[in-house]
């Protein structure tokens, strides 16, 4: 086990973890109708940070979020040789330089904070965030670093929006994960951070315990979710086995839940196969939209807050069962003792990942 804490989020729902969790507790969504955003100049529902005018949003968000993290841990650790920064992102600063989407922003990040090590970029589609947190845990367990700061960040661009439109995957309404009437994603943007460490001492607030996580490929299709949920099933099964945990020990599942017809169906099948269909579950995409490479970190950070406050958060947008196997979707905020949480993610390329964290 390693320690995880110092969670931070900058998103349309707030400038700090406190503001973001407050918004989520009030069941407010960051998604709104943005005029002329689409390929044919049509209005599109997006979770967009409106007061960020920078021409270089990716870099600005990374620096802003890491500054906030520095206030939540011993700040000297940021520049330590034993600290690594992992950035999880799919498209980085693509708008700034399509041929080199990461290096310019990371160079600025290193310079701004005086980081001792070159940051590592994990770019594994929509599982990037969960995979990066798992990598952080692995690096520390292997003794290669003492602390790893994971920054998950993606910003909305014409590139990504037009791409999802070409797949007919963008919802005409704010996305409704797992709901009968779901019809696609709402894109979002934001940046989130967690710090993983071999010691609880660097955290200003009490950390939680992070356990080993795993990934697995569906080996089925590069853009279509598996009909059997094979990769997700295997990843969750292996994560639990690795930590000698049973299904019954999981108090809550923070699902991926993108609100496309096939993704949510795939997840329902996988959790049903895992005998986990009765465990309370939600998708946070109704609040933040799909933030791609940031999603796993944002959703882990909110789930950590749920654990700290012993509170189940409503799965926004859901009203009626819309998958062939029904899940125990959280339909309203509710107090509940949360000791062990499972976070999952699935993405293009057939990839799936899962992680588990616990109260100390």
């Amino acid at each position: 086990m390693t320690y995880i804490g110092a969670e931070e989020i900058v998103s349309p729902l707030g400038q700090s973890i406190r503001e973001n969790f407050q918004s989520v507790c009030e069941n407010r969504s960051g998604i709104s109708l943005v005029p002329h955003a689409g390929f044919n100049q049509e209005a599109i529902h997006l979770s967009k940070i409106t007061d960020l005018s920078s021409s270089n949003k990716f870099e600005t968000l990374l620096i802003d979020t890491l500054s906030k993290v520095a206030k939540r841990i011993d700040p000297a650790r940021i520049t330590s040789k034993k600290t690594l920064v992992i950035v999880s992102s799919t498209k980085g600063g693509l708008d700034r330089n399509i041929k080199d989407p990461f290096a310019p922003s990371l160079t600025s990040l290193v310079k701004h904070f005086g980081l001792a090590n070159e940051p590592l970029v994990v770019s594994n589609a929509c599982i990037s965030g969960v995979l990066a947190i798992n990598a952080a845990n692995n690096f520390i367990k292997a003794g290669l670093y003492d602390h790893v700061i994971v920054l998950g960040c993606d910003v909305i661009s014409d590139f990504v929006l037009f791409g999802f439109q070409s797949l007919f995957a963008v919802s005409a309404t704010p996305c409704t994960p797992f709901d009968l009437n779901r019809s696609g994603i709402s894109l979002g943007e934001g940046c989130a951070a967690v710090v993983v460490s071999n010691t609880p001492e660097i955290f200003k607030n009490k950390p939680l315990g992070l356990y080993s996580g795993t990934s697995a490929n569906d080996a089925n299709h590069i853009s279509g979710p598996s009909r059997t949920g094979e990769g997700l099933y295997r990843s969750v099964k292996r994560t639990l086995e690795l930590n000698k945990m049973s299904f019954g020990e999981i108090d809550f599942i923070s699902a991926h839940g993108t609100a496309t017809v096939f993704n949510d169906e795939m997840e329902a099948i996988a959790f049903d196969r895992l005998n986990m269909a009765d465990i309370p579950i939600n998708s946070l995409k109704g609040y933040f939209g799909h933030t791609l490479g940031a999603a796993g970190v944002i959703e882990t950070a909110i789930s950590m807050q749920m654990m700290r406050h012993n509170m189940l958060i409503k799965s926004l947008g859901y009203s009626e069962t819309g998958t062939s196997k029904s899940l125990n979707i959280t339909t309203g905020n509710k107090s509940s003792e949360l000791n062990t949480i499972l976070k999952t993610a699935s993405g293009f390329g057939g990839c799936n990942a899962s992680l588990v964290f616990r109260k100390l």
Binding site: I98, P101, S123, F159, G163, A216, A219, I222, G349
Partner: protein, 203 residues
């Protein structure tokens, strides 16, 4: 202890398997360089033609490694082979083409868009071989032997018995491909360490 048991290099002109030049680009041919290599493999896998250059590079590299180590497909369980790949330019080669599809040609191409993520190549290799193991794609400022040594070891400790690794530098005609197989407890191959990896990579 882990060993490098096979390696494959492809650049703009030649393809080298375990140190032997096995193919050279025929500049007279109407086929692309990667298509020439694919034909040389004599496979029935029409999906190859739909792949972008990054996926074609990883696909050819992995098929050649299998040719060199035929037991790879039978020796391990379907989740015991990890995939650990990296490059510097992510999926930029295809990103540029996708952007052209909506800027110049006025209709964003869905078949290009699905390749605008660097980890798609891992999916293609997993689909081809029915490998359900761990996947990781990283973007690094340059080829970093430490990354492969450290994360390869981590994957092995977590349960992988073999890890197919690769550096796939593909951008606007530049081809800098290095795919190699790392196995534990092998009777053959070079011990996996920094020096051997740098020698083997050649850059």
């Amino acid at each position: 202890m882990s060993f490098i048991t096979a390696c494959c290099h492809i650049n703009e002109e030649s393809c080298v398997l375990n140190g032997d030049v096995i193919a050279q680009k025929n500049t007279e041919s109407g086929d692309s360089w990667f298509k020439q290599l694919y034909k040389g493999l004599t496979l029935e896998y029409p999906k190859f033609y739909k792949m972008d250059m990054l996926s074609q590079a990883g696909f050819i590299g992995s098929e050649l490694i299998k040719k060199s180590n035929p037991a790879l497909s039978t020796r391990y369980q379907d989740d015991e082979i990890g995939l650990l790949f990296a490059n510097q330019e992510s999926s930029a080669d295809t990103d540029i083409r996708f952007m052209e599809s909506y800027v110049d040609k006025k209709s964003p191409s869905p078949s290009l868009f699905v390749y605008t993520l660097p980890n798609i190549v891992l999916g293609e290799i997993a689909i081809r071989n029915k490998w359900f193991g761990e996947n990781m794609f990283a973007v690094l400022p340059k080829f970093a032997p430490e990354f492969f040594l450290q994360y390869g070891e981590i994957m092995m400790v977590a349960g992988a018995k073999a890890v197919l690794m690769g550096w796939l530098g593909i951008l606007e005609g530049k081809i800098e491909v290095f795919v190699f197989l790392v196995e534990e407890n092998s009777a053959t191959g070079m011990q996996l360490n920094r020096e051997n990896l740098i020698t083997c990579a050649g850059f």
